[in-house]
């Protein structure tokens, strides 16, 4: 792999994040450095409390490092104001959460439209069209007007993925996106992520499950807020084949 002529999307330089809890200081991240290139499918693994979510929040511009530098698309995030970070979240990042985080009593389309509402360049008409397109992409073309409480967990997570995709972000971040789903549905999600990977999206996927990591292109292991290992996966498994082998639901 000729890594050097690929575009760097994310660059972390010695990123630290400390939390003050009472008198104690928790060092959630202790100097994390790596580069992520465009089109990579990265999984981040590690034990509970190793700092995975904290790291993802840094990358997702939801939080700022205590020290160190973070460049997103070549722009330093640490010195930004909160409004600029909000704009970055809106334009460059698609976030997927473990517990879906859909708006209650709101239809799939309206949920997916949400990020576009905070993007003034998208006119209302275009907003809806793009939301519908994203939902079709995740296989929910027949559930457009279903409300969030009328859907299964897998369907809700698909809506969340569509919401993350709708702004055409530079990176897609997922924090335990399959954590609440059964094996079969998890693999359905993996198929979807691999499809996005094949289309050239950059994906960072936090997971507990080492099996899932085999379907990504690169595996980063965290331990005590530091990168313990960072390996390229040369033998990416095909999620679609794995799904086909799984026992069918009746």
């Amino acid at each position: 792999m000729s890594e050097d002529n690929r575009k760097v999307v994310i660059e972390l330089k010695d990123v630290c994040r400390d939390f003050k809890v009472g008198d104690e200081v928790v060092h959630a991240l202790r100097g994390v450095s790596f580069k992520i290139y465009e089109g990579e499918f990265v999984t981040i693994q590690g034990t509970s409390g190793s700092g995975k979510s904290t790291l993802l929040n840094q990358i997702g511009c939801l939080d700022t490092p205590t020290s160190g530098e973070y460049y997103l698309d070549g722009v330093s995030v640490r010195k930004m104001g909160s409004n600029q970070r909000a704009k970055l979240r809106n334009r460059k990042i698609g976030f997927i959460f473990q517990n879906y985080n859909l708006l209650a009593k709101t239809t799939a389309v309206e949920n997916v439209e949400l990020p576009l509402m905070y993007n003034a360049k998208v006119k209302p008409k275009e907003r809806r069209q793009r939301a519908i397109k994203a939902l079709i992409e995740v296989g929910l073309g027949d559930r457009l007007e279903h409300k969030s409480n009328q859907m299964s967990g897998g369907q809700m997570q698909r809506v969340a993925i569509a919401r993350a995709l709708v702004n055409d972000p530079t990176i897609i971040l997922a924090d335990e996106a399959t954590g609440n789903l059964d094996t079969r549905t998890s693999f359905e999600m993996l198929v979807l992520f691999q499809k996005l990977y094949n289309e050239g999206h950059t994906i960072i996927f936090v997971t507990h499950n080492p099996e899932i990591a085999q379907y990504s292109s690169r595996n980063i292991f965290l331990r005590d807020g530091q990168v313990q290992a960072d390996t390229i996966n040369h033998n990416i498994l095909n999620a679609e084949e794995a799904l086909a082998k799984l026992p069918k639901k009746d």
């Binding site: 929040n57 997702g60 409004n83 909000a86 704009k87 976030f95 959460f97 905070y118 209302p124 919401r163």
Partner: protein
């Protein structure tokens, strides 16, 4: 003052609009706010309740105040401003109690002196009043009897609808005849027969009806002006009360402009007939009707102001209620706020969303309050015959005040929402 506030609000609105015009975000935020409110209709209505009641109270108070004032003005112009009333006893506004004999100073000689000597006086009528029950057949009704002279009809501009007035002859002989008002006709003769020529009993004295008065309706204080009997003053004095003094002498001045001269002239004549020494106080009091109406009107103004201020305080309480509910709402929707922030909402977008929500609550409440106020006013007129008139500027003022309440009391919840940390907010359960 209202205008300044209105302009200030307008300027702020335009500034906000210009800030967001290019991003067309405001419309979206508006929609979100409406949706949030309609998602929880019962609570929205509850949080509006204070505003609804407060605004309705203000509107009703103002409409009664305004209505009474208009009605007083109308009454004055109807009656003419040149009516002058002479009452027995010194001016009582000082509050000093007077012995009963001082209330018996107006006598027949005074009446005759006024008739003979006062050049500025057009009409004169001595007045003796009493109240009691009027009975016809099996029907009865409580009413007041006014003993008057013929000229009373001109002073108060009463017209006869049916029959005729009593005559000078009737006054001379203290004849038991009377004119009755419309309310009495309706209550004593409910089957529609003409009362003229019938004999009713008033305080056990039989009196023959010679005419029916044309209806005047209710006055400014919700009093029925048609519930009365008019008789010759001699009849009331001799046949009903056996007294020799008047309770009032009503006089009308030649023109409105000569009211002051008339009062001077009356004072002079009455002092002379009462043989008062130069340094003695008047033993009668003269008021012009216009002056009394002015006093009443300004009293009503002060009462209106007090009531409106009281009602306005309830709006303050209502605002605090809105703030409470908004604070609860922000806490409940912490996760939603976190989600919105994580997909790119700025602090100002979030705070604007909650601000617009609270403004929407208070303005909608204001609108319902205005409608309720109109309703109650109409009801007060229909049931209690109170004159009401909702001043249009009070409606405008209500909306302005509601907007301000929404902004002021929505500010703290909006700030609370905007200051949330996205990560903590999205994890909130």
């Amino acid at each position: 003052m209202n205008l300044i506030i209105l302009i200030a609000i307008l300027v702020v609105a335009i500034l906000i609009y210009r800030r967001y015009r290019d991003e067309s975000l405001l419309g979206m935020i508006f929609k979100v706010a409406i949706k949030a409110l309609s998602n929880n209709k019962a609570r929205s209505l509850l949080s509006m309740l204070g505003i609804i009641i407060g605004v309705a109270a203000v509107i009703v108070m103002m409409s009664i105040g305004q209505g009474s004032k208009e009605s007083v003005r109308k009454n004055i112009s109807q009656m003419g401003t040149n009516i002058i009333m002479i009452r027995p006893g010194a001016d009582r506004r000082g509050g000093v109690r007077q012995d009963p004999s001082s209330m018996q100073t107006l006598k027949q000689e005074d009446y005759e002196a006024i008739l003979n000597e006062c050049r500025y006086v057009m009409y004169t009528s001595p007045e003796v009043t009493t109240s009691g029950q009027a009975i016809y057949g099996s029907n009865n009704y409580n009413t007041s009897a006014y003993g008057e002279s013929l000229e009373y009809m001109d002073i108060k501009q009463w017209e006869i609808e049916d029959g005729t007035c009593f005559t000078e002859q009737d006054v001379q002989t203290a004849a038991k005849v009377c004119l009755i008002g419309k309310t009495l006709v309706d209550n004593l003769f409910p089957d529609g027969q003409s009362p003229v020529g019938k004999t009713i009993r008033f305080r056990s004295t039989p009196v023959r009806i010679v005419g029916v008065l044309k209806s005047k309706g209710y006055n400014s204080f919700g009093m029925d002006q048609d519930n009365l009997i008019i008789m010759p003053y001699t009849t009331v004095m001799k046949r009903l009360l056996a007294q020799t003094f008047f309770s009032t002498i009503n006089v009308s001045s030649l023109t409105e402009e000569t009211t002051d001269q008339t009062i001077e002239e009356l004072t002079e004549v009455l002092r002379r007939t009462h043989k008062l020494k130069d340094n003695a106080e008047d033993d009668f009091t003269i008021h012009s009707q216009a002056e009394m109406m002015e006093t009443m009107s300004s009293t009503m103004d002060s009462i209106t102001i007090i009531l409106v201020v009281a009602a306005a305080f309830s709006l303050l309480v209502a605002g605090i209620g809105i703030m409470n509910i908004m604070l609860v709402s922000v806490t409940e929707r912490t996760k939603e706020i976190g989600l919105r922030m994580s997909v790119g909402a700025r602090s100002i977008d979030i705070s604007l969303q909650f601000l617009i929500e609270s403004i929407l609550i208070s303005i909608t409440g204001g609108l319902l309050g205005v409608l309720l106020g109109y309703g109650i006013s109409a009801l007060a007129t229909a049931v209690f015959h109170l004159p009401t008139s909702v001043p249009f500027w009070s409606v405008i003022l209500s909306f302005v005040v509601c907007t301000i309440i929404g902004i002021v009391f929505g500010y703290i919840p909006a700030q609370k929402a905007a200051r949330l940390d996205p990560i903590e907010a999205i994890r909130y359960e």
